[in-house]
């Protein structure tokens, strides 16, 4: 059941589009996907290819004392193997983002000498069939000397805890102190200091339905690999792989078409891709790797598990928030594959949606014997926003105030926009209080007390909870310098090319790697508006190919940015093309200035005499195939490449101040739950999700992203968790044990939208799609409201709620 409502705020001073932009144009991608004609990575086949299977560690922590692949290699149909020893000889360790001590770890694409989590790849086997590769893997002999495992980040730095990486001298990977404002003054001014001993954000990820994979071909003649893959950030994979493999990036060609979901989880497959590359070269045949579901759960991209400890909040009696200090402890798992960037990414949303002025956060990241963490939808901000939201509801409870009123009293106000946060980020636009009112209205908040009474009569405890979050988008990669001042990254970029081909075809090439976000459709909408043609006339190439010259260092699809970086690149390239078409037509018409021309009806014409018309087909044909006699100085190619570069400065590494992201989409979710007091089982009986991502190019696609993020948040809040036993065995290694929501699990949903155009982006858009995990908090807060007990964990399965109820009785 879905219900929608929309509100548009007074427009900010940006150009508001007309025409295709803003319409729910039906997706161009759908036809092939609905007919089973998409091309996902496992659909790519090559003659003579071998199937790769990884032999994985059964231990969380152990020395490898012997590896023997001879029995596996002796099997007919087994093409070959790769061991950690070979990897160490052929490659350098991956470049580390971290400063010391994390910088000192030696990370290779297969385990070398030691395994550090259950499921870590130890040996790769390639064979004629999937089944044979799997069977032969069983014949690989590996001897282990097991070591004690560390599975609780809170004891990782204790003196008697085993150390994962001797090179780092301990399990501390990175730490940093962030302090802004005047904490002493804030606590001196406070009427109350609310103390929260410990909050825990649990480990889960988005489990895209398609697992990771690749088909890698090696062209021996030119020493180049073609990597067909579903990696969602080829720019990052390339800079990790090239130096490790000791080759230039021109030797690594990345190709994707359709990707079966990503959610950040497909950013860090570079170790597996290196293994595929080495084997494709070693065996001189294409190598195909498709990860099994259990392998994904065991080894890929868990979301950051985080504790917030010793939190103190300075508040006034009326609920005015002055400041907070806390210690964030982050569990990185066994390797730093994208980490410790999580140690700064949270700072994009330092005060959450609130006007806190004084904030101190001590961030510590440690290694444990669990799968490496990597970006997961809402990466690192979700954890922090869940924390700020928890603080609000706990403060409200301690002060006996209404959580709605505490939020409204402290939200950044519409009139404060653009709002500079204590650490120098700039929230571009939004009206959080209006969003909250809209969301509360959608669940019938005014009649909630009557519903509470009704639920009570039926023996149920009703609770209402709010989650208000930000989806910060378009990273300033300069924030990486707050982690490691030696890094030479900053800013951001994305590329598009738009060209007119010989027969007038409008062809668009993107640098992005969409996984269902509808880039082919929204890009066509932007192009069609500028060229004044139909979206049906615009052909957007599906997928990504680094041969196309439409990629830059930060190309990819991640971190809520396409509507800004991708579409701004498309806009820039299309405007260049439009200008070139007019220049060409002006010359053909005998020196007519551009101002006198307009694009319309699939061509260009003189405004005052529309009969003087040159169709795009003629333009394409003249430049590409019939160009004799054109003026020598006519600088027109009709093949335009534009790199969009957002306006950023490098953050200050001393004060840790700077604008870390360009846009701030926002979400306010409200959940209504009914809890069975006997069992702790609960049902979400009403749910509202209100989103503001500025100007929406395609409202239906935006709403689809909101729905998806909502479903994932509900799944995480109620069901999904990567839990380990004390020996480091993952207890939820497949979809039996790791329950993701099914159609029957979904509550009735009401969606609402507000449009506060961003004043900082060419189209007034904001990146969106990750959501901020608002639903995770909304469910927590609703359970707190229903049970009267403070909720300290982001994951609340029925048994945890039952325990809360027992605590309440006691």
């Amino acid at each position: 059941m879905i219900q929608s409502s929309e509100t548009t705020l007074a427009p900010a001073p940006v150009e508001v589009q007309k025409g295709w932009g803003g319409q729910s144009v039906k997706r161009k991608e759908d036809k092939r996907l609905l007919q089973g004609e998409g091309v996902f990575v496992d659909d790519v086949k090559r003659h003579g290819m071998g199937y790769l299977h990884f032999v994985r560690s059964p231990y969380a922590h152990a020395h490898i004392t012997r590896v023997d692949v001879s029995a596996a290699e002796a099997i007919d149909g087994v093409y070959g193997t790769l061991t950690g020893e070979e990897v160490a000889a052929l490659t350098d360790p991956f470049f580390q983002i971290s400063s010391v001590p994390g910088a000192n770890i030696k990370d290779f694409s297969l385990a070398v000498g030691k395994v550090r989590y259950v499921g870590e790849p130890v040996v790769a086997v390639v064979a004629e069939t999937r089944e044979l590769a799997r069977d032969a893997s069983e014949l690989v002999e590996v001897d282990y000397e097991p070591l004690a495992a560390v599975v609780d980040a809170r004891v990782a730095q204790d003196s008697d805890t085993p150390v994962l990486h001797d090179d780092a001298g301990g399990n501390l990977m990175w730490s940093g102190l962030y302090s802004w404002g005047d904490l002493d003054a804030a606590f001196a001014e406070a009427d109350r200091v609310v103390k929260i001993p410990e909050l825990h954000f649990h480990r889960f990820n988005s489990t895209p339905l398609e697992c990771d994979g690749a088909l890698v071909e090696y062209n021996r003649g030119v020493s180049q690999w073609t990597i067909h893959t579903n990696n969602q950030f080829p720019g990052f994979a390339a800079i990790m792989m090239g130096p490790a493999m000791k080759v230039g990036l021109d030797k690594l060609r990345f190709v994707t078409q359709d990707i079966g979901g990503g959610f950040g989880n497909k950013i860090t497959s570079h170790p597996q891709l290196v293994v595929c590359c080495l084997l494709a070269r070693k065996l001189n045949r294409p190598v195909q790797w498709t990860e099994w579901r259990t392998d994904f759960h065991l080894s890929m991209s868990h979301g950051n598990e985080r504790w917030f400890r010793d939190t103190e909040v300075a508040v006034k009696d009326d609920g005015t928030l002055l400041g907070f200090r806390t210690k964030a402890l982050d569990d990185a798992g066994a390797w730093l594959r994208y980490e410790p960037l999580g140690g700064v990414i949270w700072a994009q949303v330092t005060p959450g949606m609130y006007r806190w002025k004084h904030i101190e956060l001590e961030f510590t990241q440690v290694a444990t014997n669990k799968a490496p963490v990597s970006p997961n939808r809402g990466y690192s901000r979700m954890q922090h926003l869940w924390f700020t939201e928890r603080v609000i509801d706990i403060v409200a409870r301690e002060l006996d105030l209404d959580p709605v009123e505490v939020r409204k009293r402290n939200y950044v106000r519409a009139e404060d926009m653009p709002y500079t946060t204590p650490n120098g980020c700039v929230y571009d636009s939004g009206d959080y209080a209006a969003m909250l009112d809209l969301a509360l209205g959608l669940v019938g908040y005014d009649s909630m007390e009557a519903r509470r009474a009704d639920a009570k009569e039926r023996g149920k405890l009703l609770g209402v909870g709010i989650g208000s979050t930000l989806d910060s988008g378009t990273n300033n990669f300069g924030q990486s310098r707050l982690i490691n001042p030696e890094l030479q990254f900053s800013g951001n970029n994305e590329v598009a090319t738009v060209k007119l081909d010989i027969f007038g075809e409008i062809v668009v090439t993107l640098g992005t790697t969409p996984q269902g976000q509808g880039h082919e459709t929204t890009a066509a909408q932007v192009v069609a508006d500028i060229l004044n043609c139909s979206v049906d006339d615009v052909h957007v190439r599906a997928g990504h190919d680094s041969y196309w010259n439409s990629h830059a260092g930060f190309s990819g699809t991640y971190a809520s940015q396409f509507a800004v970086t991708g579409l701004s690149a498309v806009k820039g390239a299309t405007e260049m093309l439009a200008a070139e078409i007019k220049k060409l037509a002006g010359a053909v018409f005998g020196g007519v200035p551009a101002e006198a021309l307009e694009l319309a009806d699939g061509g260009v014409r003189i405004k005052e005499s529309p009969d003087a018309f040159l169709p795009f087909m003629a333009c394409g044909a003249i430049i590409n195939a019939n160009n004799a006699g054109l003026p020598e100085d006519l600088d027109v190619t009709l093949n335009c490449r534009y790199v969009y570069r957002p306006p950023f400065e490098v953050p200050d590494v001393e004060t840790k101040m700077g604008n870390l992201t360009l846009t701030y989409a926002c979400q306010v979710h409200v959940a209504v739950v009914e809890v069975d007091p006997e069992t702790g089982a609960y049902e979400i009986v009403d749910y509202a999700a209100v989103d503001d991502c500025g100007k929406r190019i395609n409202p239906q696609i935006v709403e689809g992203q909101v729905m998806g993020a909502t479903a994932q948040a509900i799944g995480a809040a109620v069901h999904e968790t990567y839990e380990y036993d004390e020996d480091g065995n993952l207890l939820t290694p497949n979809f039996y044990d790791y329950h993701v929501p099914h159609a029957l699990d979904m509550p009735p949903l009401a969606t609402g939208a507000i449009e506060s155009p961003s004043p900082f982006t060419p189209l007034g858009t904001k990146g969106m799609g990750e959501g901020g995990g608002a639903g995770i908090h909304a469910v927590c807060a609703a359970i707190q409201d229903a049970t009267g007990q403070i909720v300290t964990d982001s994951h609340n399965p029925y048994q945890r709620v039952w325990r809360l109820l027992q605590e309440a009785k006691a």
């Binding site: 059941m1 879905i2 729910s24 039906k26 997706r27 991608e29 759908d30 036809k31 092939r32 996907l33 609905l34 007919q35 089973g36 004609e37 998409g38 996902f40 496992d42 659909d43 086949k45 069939t129 999937r130 089944e131 988005s206 489990t207 895209p208 339905l209 398609e210 697992c211 359709d258 990707i259 079966g260 979901g261 990503g262 959610f263 099994w292 579901r293 259990t294 996984q515 269902g516 976000q517 509808g518 696609i701 709403e703 689809g704 992203q705 729905m707 998806g708 909502t710 479903a711 994932q712 497949n734 979809f735 039996y736 993701v740 929501p741 099914h742 159609a743 029957l744 979904m746 949903l749």
Partner: protein, 150 residues
């Protein structure tokens, strides 16, 4: 072992390893890559096909067990370029994002609508509970199926 199956009206004869799953037979041997693999435990439904009129997860069946069967997959739904009303409804209601679960969803919904042309919202959700989608939250999928119910 020799296996003969008819898929979307075309008959195929192949020598198949006895342990090969039907989904891998369809994808790897017959190049019908529309049906997908999303798990290894029979939970996700991305590989759903219709075998002799019965909806099955093709990862839960060996290829040899399908010997002599008539199989329908996503590739056989449309008549050439003419999408079925259900496929059109998925497009209309934005019932797919990445499209990876979509073939299985379409086959489950097709089987449901044949058996029960007028399902309620609850009946639709129940019929789709064996199919996991991680992109949409299911709301638009249920709406799409509901829109073509009689």
């Amino acid at each position: 072992m020799d296996v003969t199956v008819t898929v979307n009206g075309t008959t195929y004869e192949r020598d198949v390893e006895p342990r090969k799953l039907l989904i891998h037979f369809l994808r790897d041997d017959l190049d019908l890559t529309g049906s997908h693999v999303g798990c290894d435990t029979g939970n996700c439904g991305a590989c759903s096909v219709i075998v002799d009129g019965v909806l099955v997860k093709s990862c839960m069946l060996l290829a040899v067990q399908a010997n002599g069967a008539s199989i329908e997959t996503v590739e056989g739904l449309a008549e050439g370029d003419e999408l079925t009303p259900l496929q059109l409804a998925f497009n209309e209601h934005h019932a797919l994002q990445c499209g990876y679960c979509t073939p299985g969803m379409l086959m489950s919904a097709t089987a449901l609508l044949r058996e029960n042309p007028s399902p309620s919202e609850d009946e639709i959700a129940k019929a789709l509970q064996g199919n996991i989608c991680r992109c949409t939250g299911y709301w638009n999928i249920v709406e799409a199926v509901k829109s073509v119910a009689k």
